[in-house]
């Protein structure tokens, strides 16, 4: 199952599930990363981390370690 952190800038994906539990799991969903949401990776920060994505029509930055929790269909 591919995860969000494996995408390159310009690639898109649809969220199929979210791994993990607890606060970060909840926060990711509140920010709109839910099952069925489509994402696009915009770019990576200078040192390759964090990444900037487009989700629910806005720009969000998150680390690759958090992006690894997002499974894509």
């Amino acid at each position: 199952m591919p995860t969000l952190n494996q995408l390159k800038p310009g690639q898109t994906g649809i969220v199929s599930a979210l791994r993990g539990d607890g606060a970060i799991h909840q926060r990711l969903q509140e920010m709109g990363i839910i099952e069925g949401a489509s994402l696009e990776v915009i770019r990576m920060a200078p040192l390759g981390d964090p990444m900037e994505i487009l989700v629910q029509g806005y720009h969000l930055s998150l680390r690759k370690s958090e992006a690894a929790l997002v499974e894509l269909a």
Binding site: L18, D21, G22, A23, I24, H25, Q26, R27, L28, Q29, E30, M31, G32, I34, E35, A37, I42, R43, M44, A45, P46, L47, G48, D49, P50, E52, Q56, G57, Y58, H59, L60, S61, L62, R63, S65, E66
Partner: protein, 731 residues
């Protein structure tokens, strides 16, 4: 009792701008997540009655985990001490980003209070061809929706009318909020019934919203608070959760149900273009957050700021300087020689005047910081810096308070409130005061203009003075990184926090907001010079003037009499007398209470290249860093001939000598003073705020202790190393 309305919304939706437009209360807004860290209240006239408007911190959700979010939940539930119960809620949403913004609105539905939705940034939505039917939206949401454009003050009257209707008992259309799975609803019902049953330990009504959060947010704020009040609650919660979710995560169920409801509403009331429009903001971001260009632009912005501080503010400062020189001269001519003249000329004018000179520079610095905060750059800076900060065990979110601290550490410390984890928050609080705030600027500038040559370097592109200033600002950042790294591995051990940050759309800075910030900072500076600095300087003057022993005066009188009787030419006599006058001033100063204390501490500061006067000036600047300029002014003017008051402080410092007659100041001494002030925590207000924000006495003491130790060691190293390099030789 006046009506109370809470204003709530996601960060960056223009909530504070709308708040200003509604209440007319002068207030500052920014553009990065979490700027509204302080709860603000304003008054509003609706339908001839007064209503209180409470501005809540920006938040994405009511699942509270950070101190900011806890305040929001407490105010909404009328549990916040000192706040009236809420009668209605005004939710501000960003029209260009409705999906995510409506998430918070869907949670507000559960509060059961009258709700008004302000649809902000409608102009931007129009530009992006997002068509919103407010009537459909109102019907679907079950709350009036008003199109506004807060920064252009469009739709404010309509919003006022909607608020008036909502708070004066207009029948609200009852519309159900999101639909949750039956198992979850049933558990919430059961829990609500149990908590509000007579014999539990809370003794107050528990609202449905609170019950919902208790059940869904495992390890969240509501759970922590309620289980503290009633130990029985915690025991059965996990069972209820298992029943409600049937094994699945309740957070996921909540998010899915809410977004399903939102999708339904947006489908009915909003039409978006099918292809994504590339906005100006996107194009800007391609450059500003570009791996190479972005870092270069960051450095470029900083360099421009520091160069501008010198070149823009310079002429104005010379003007103020000259004005104070002239005032000093005319006052000394007006007052008879003696104590009072010395107090006014050596104390007040030399002390306070020398601080006021720096007003133009502080305003220039604030101008740049206000623009950066207002245009949305701060979140990008956090994005660029996250990797670096994550290596220290922090996240890019900690960078925003650090950047704000360049203006002043106090808003910086307060801007740490959106940081959820206490250890991360305290680490950020402890390193934020290392950033060079505007109060350090006068210290840097005085030392730089007096002792660093004004030469062009790198082919005439840059000025050496500006470069040294950039260096001083870098010292704070360079030291903050290892300090944070150490703290997170020792006393504040913990995992690296997650980093989830919205990158808001860039916008042109609102010049009104920028101007307000600059003027406010300028005003604060003048007020401080007129109150705290004035008071410190008068006390310092008194300590360095008295006891003003008659014996010493008599001794020098005798010397002067000797000169008069010696039969020298008139010219020779006047030279000899002015020498005696200077010696007399010095003798009085050394004999003063301040001088005696100074001689006692001199061994401590001598390794830094300082003499007792610099040492005492530094100690006296404990209330605020820029006081050191004032105390240096007073001490050095007192120790010299009164006639020299028209000379600027720069000149006086240049001419000062040590006991053996050698020049007191040289480049190593100036650098050592600057480095000390870059790293020390000579700021009573910062310590008071650290105490308040950490709710502990230990952290401010720790902050002061570690910063002073660091400052001492770094100044020692700077002085010894640069002297060894031979920079101390006067050319």
């Amino acid at each position: 009792m006046p009506t109370t309305i809470a204003v709530i919304g996601n960060p960056n939706v223009g909530k504070t701008t709308l708040f200003n437009a509604l209440t007319g209360l002068s207030q500052v807004t920014g553009n990065y997540p979490g700027v509204t860290v302080e709860r603000k209240v304003g008054t509003l006239r609706i339908n001839g009655t007064t209503a209180h408007l409470v501005d809540l911190p920006g938040t994405y959700s009511l699942a509270a985990r950070s101190p900011d979010e806890m305040i929001v939940v407490d105010v909404l539930l009328s549990q916040q001490a000192g706040e009236d119960p809420i009668d209605a809620v005004l939710a501000v949403v960003d029209a260009t980003n409705l999906d995510r913004n409506l998430y918070l609105v869907s949670q507000l539905k559960e509060l059961g209070k009258p709700l008004v939705v302000a649809l902000n940034m409608c102009d931007l939505a129009d530009k992006r061809q997002i068509k919103i039917d407010t009537d459909v939206l109102s019907r679907e949401l079950g709350a009036p929706v008003v199109r506004i454009c807060a920064n252009k003050r469009i739709g404010i009257d309509a919003l006022n009318a909607a608020l008036a209707a909502a708070t004066h008992g207009a029948p609200t259309v009852h519309v159900n909020g999101p639909e949750f799975p039956e198992a979850l609803t049933r558990e919430v019902d059961a829990l609500e019934a149990r908590l509000n049953h007579g014999d539990h330990g809370l003794g107050r009504h528990v609202q449905r919203l609170e019950v919902f959060r208790l059940l869904v947010d495992r390890g969240g704020y509501v759970e922590a608070r309620l289980s503290q009040a009633d130990k029985d609650i915690a025991g059965s919660l996990d069972e209820s959760r298992a029943r409600a979710g049937a094994g699945a995560s309740l957070a996921a169920i909540e998010a899915r149900s809410r977004y399903a409801w939102i999708r339904q509403i947006v489908a009915a009331g909003v039409r978006k273009p099918t292809t994504r429009v590339t906005t100006v903001s996107d194009k800007l971001d391609a450059v500003i957050t570009h791996p190479l260009l972005g870092t270069f632009i960051f450095a470029l912005i900083m360099t421009i700021v520091f160069q501008a501080i010198f070149s823009w503010a310079g002429p104005l400062m010379d003007l103020v300087d000259a004005a104070f020189g002239a005032i000093g001269e005319s006052v000394s001519a007006m007052l008879p020689e003696g104590m009072l003249q010395s107090l006014v000329v050596d104390g007040i004018i030399a002390g306070v005047g020398n601080v006021i000179i720096f007003l133009p520079q502080i305003m220039v610095l604030m101008f740049f910081i206000a623009i950066l905060e207002d245009c949305g750059y701060m979140a990008r800076a956090a994005f660029l810096m996250d990797k670096l900060l994550s290596r220290c065990g922090l996240s890019g979110q900690s960078f925003i308070p650090m950047l704000s601290s360049f203006a002043c550490a106090i808003p910086g410390v307060m801007a740490t409130r959106p940081i959820g984890n206490r250890r991360d928050r305290i680490t950020t609080i402890l390193v934020a005061p290392l950033m060079s705030c505007s109060a350090r600027l006068p210290v840097y500038t005085l030392m730089i203009t007096a002792f660093i040559p004004d030469t062009k370097v790198i082919g005439g592109w840059l000025n050496l003075q500006g470069l040294v200033l950039t260096g001083m600002y870098s010292v704070g950042i360079a030291v903050a990184i290892p300090v944070a790294w150490t703290l997170k591995r020792t006393i504040l051990k913990g995992e690296t926090p997650p980093f989830l940050l919205e990158l808001p759309t860039y916008k042109l800075p609102q010049w009104g907001t920028v101007l307000r910030k600059v003027l406010r900072q300028g005003k604060e500076f003048i007020v401080r010079a007129g109150t705290i600095i004035f008071a410190v300087i008068v006390v310092v003057w008194a300590l360095s003037y008295f006891p003003h022993s008659d014996e010493i005066t008599a001794m020098f009188e005798a010397e002067r009499a000797k000169v008069a009787a010696s039969g020298m030419s008139e010219e020779e006599q006047s030279i000899a007398i002015s020498e005696i006058d200077a010696e007399e001033s010095g003798a009085h100063l050394r004999n003063s209470y301040f001088g005696r204390m100074g001689l006692a501490i001199e061994p401590l500061v001598r390794p830094l290249g300082w003499d007792w006067r610099i040492g005492m000036a530094t100690i006296a600047s404990f209330p605020a860093r820029e006081v050191v300029i004032a105390t240096l002014g007073t001490i050095f003017y007192l120790g010299s001939d009164v006639d020299e008051t028209s000379d600027s402080l720069k000149t006086v410092l240049h001419e000062s000598t040590r006991a053996d007659g050698s020049k007191l100041f040289n480049i190593p001494v100036a650098l050592s003073i600057m480095v000390f002030f870059a790293l020390c925590c000579q700021c009573g207000a910062t310590l008071a705020v650290i105490r308040r924000e950490t709710q502990s006495n230990a952290w401010p003491v720790f902050a002061f202790g570690y910063m002073t130790a660091l400052a001492y060691v770094a100044a020692l190293f700077t002085y010894q190393f640069t002297t060894w390099l031979g920079w101390g030789v006067v050319t």
